[in-house]
């Protein structure tokens, strides 16, 4: 698969996963860019074409985890409400709420649910994260349950 094709197919997926992790458009764009720089550099060495998605999501999720080194960035959820309002006024409130809820989960849960919502198979998610498939399934179920509860209180 050529880089251009990968970039076209996976940019939005990688961007959304990064958004789920940091809930900040600029920051997510930075991480997505870093991910594609790595893909650009590593692609000539990559041979297993069938697992390209897993490979890309691994790089993206590891880049997300590495954000812990960038301590000067303020997580979106910790921004003063007024600023948050100005930046996100054109995004549907339920979408904003979903991404806010996800960004409040623990780091690995954020990645697991983002990959699940991106339609990545649970066996693949388990490989990306490094968990057993059965554990991954349980985790996804519990995260979804928590999100559903949050949405229940949001709607009422």
């Amino acid at each position: 698969m050529a880089f251009e094709e990968i970039y076209k197919t996976y940019w939005s997926k990688v961007f959304r996963i990064c958004m789920g992790y940091v809930n900040d458009h600029d920051w997510a764009k930075d991480i997505a860019q870093e991910t594609f720089v790595t893909i650009w550099q590593q692609l000539p060495k990559f041979r297993n074409e069938s697992a390209i998605g897993t490979w890309i999501f691994r790089i993206a999720s590891n880049n997300c985890l590495r954000q812990i080194e960038r301590q000067n960035r303020m997580p979106r959820s910790e921004m003063p409400e007024q600023i948050a309002e100005i930046i996100t006024h054109d995004i549907e409130p339920a979408v904003q709420f979903l991404y806010k809820c996800i960004s409040e989960l623990s780091e690995t849960d954020r990645l697991i649910i983002s990959l699940e919502l991106e339609d990545v198979k649970q066996a693949e998610i388990a490989k990306i994260v490094g968990l057993k498939e059965s554990n991954t399934r349980v985790k996804i179920y519990r995260i979804k349950e928590r999100l559903a509860k949050k949405f229940e209180s949001y709607e009422h």
Binding site: F3, Y7, K8, W11, S12, F15, R16, M19, G20, H25, A28, K29, Q33, E34, F36, V37, T38, W40, Q41, Q42, W55, R58, I59, S61, N62, N63, L65, R66, I68, E69, Q71, D90, I91, E92, A94, V95, L98, Y99, S106, E107, T108, D109, L111, L117, E118, D119, K127, I128, V129, G130, L131, N135, V138, K139, K144, L147, A148, F151
Partner: protein
């Protein structure tokens, strides 16, 4: 609630020109490499000057020779440690699973913290001892006032570096590494939680 439908409604930022992004990343790498080369040049020059000074002064005393040797060992060991520390920062493999990646980051940061603390202490201990020994012979050839002034100024400079600059730098770096390791271990713990 259809989370997938909501998830996909997130507006996506336009794709940047990746060639420009790669060019920027490469430029940053080059700048970093240049800094590394500069530090090597400065330390190598210091080594050359120390050897040259040792020859010019024609030290006959064994303590002075030991002093010069200790200073040289300090520079060389710092240089070797620094050159070993930098590549491990780039050795992370982004293609492994999150769990393995976290373990790799923790190991790298622990190694960096250890090298930083141990090497800085060794460097300062060797340098100050070496300098003190090295100056004994010139001291005996000077007038007592000049000798005391030389030792006092040197001691003052060393004390400033040893008791002010070193603790500040080390404390800051240690806090940075400790924070990072704690956070990484916490994330790692999330994957090991009992289900």
């Amino acid at each position: 609630m259809d989370f997938k439908a909501l998830w996909n409604k997130q507006p996506i930022d336009a794709k940047p020109d990746i060639e420009q992004v790669v060019m920027k990343a490469e430029k940053l790498k080059r700048i970093f490499r240049l800094k590394l080369i500069l530090l090597n040049i400065v330390l190598l020059a210091t080594i050359v000057i120390t050897i040259y000074a040792n020859n010019i002064i024609a030290n006959e005393w064994l303590v002075s020779k030991i002093g010069a040797a200790l200073m040289l060992i300090a520079y060389i060991s710092y240089l070797v440690a620094y050159n070993q520390l930098i590549p491990i920062l780039f050795k992370t493999n982004p293609e492994i699973s999150n769990l393995e990646y976290l373990n790799q980051l923790i190991t790298i940061n622990r190694k960096s913290a250890f090298l930083d603390t141990v090497m800085t202490n060794i460097y300062f201990a060797l340098l100050s001892t070496g300098l003190a020994l090295f100056l004994i012979q010139p001291f005996t050839h000077m007038k007592i006032v000049n000798g005391i002034t030389l030792y006092a100024v040197t001691a003052l400079c060393m004390a400033f570096a040893l008791f002010y600059l070193k603790p500040i730098g080390m404390k800051k770096r240690k806090r940075h590494f400790d924070d990072l390791i704690t956070k990484l271990e916490a994330i790692n713990g999330q994957l090991r939680e009992e289900l």
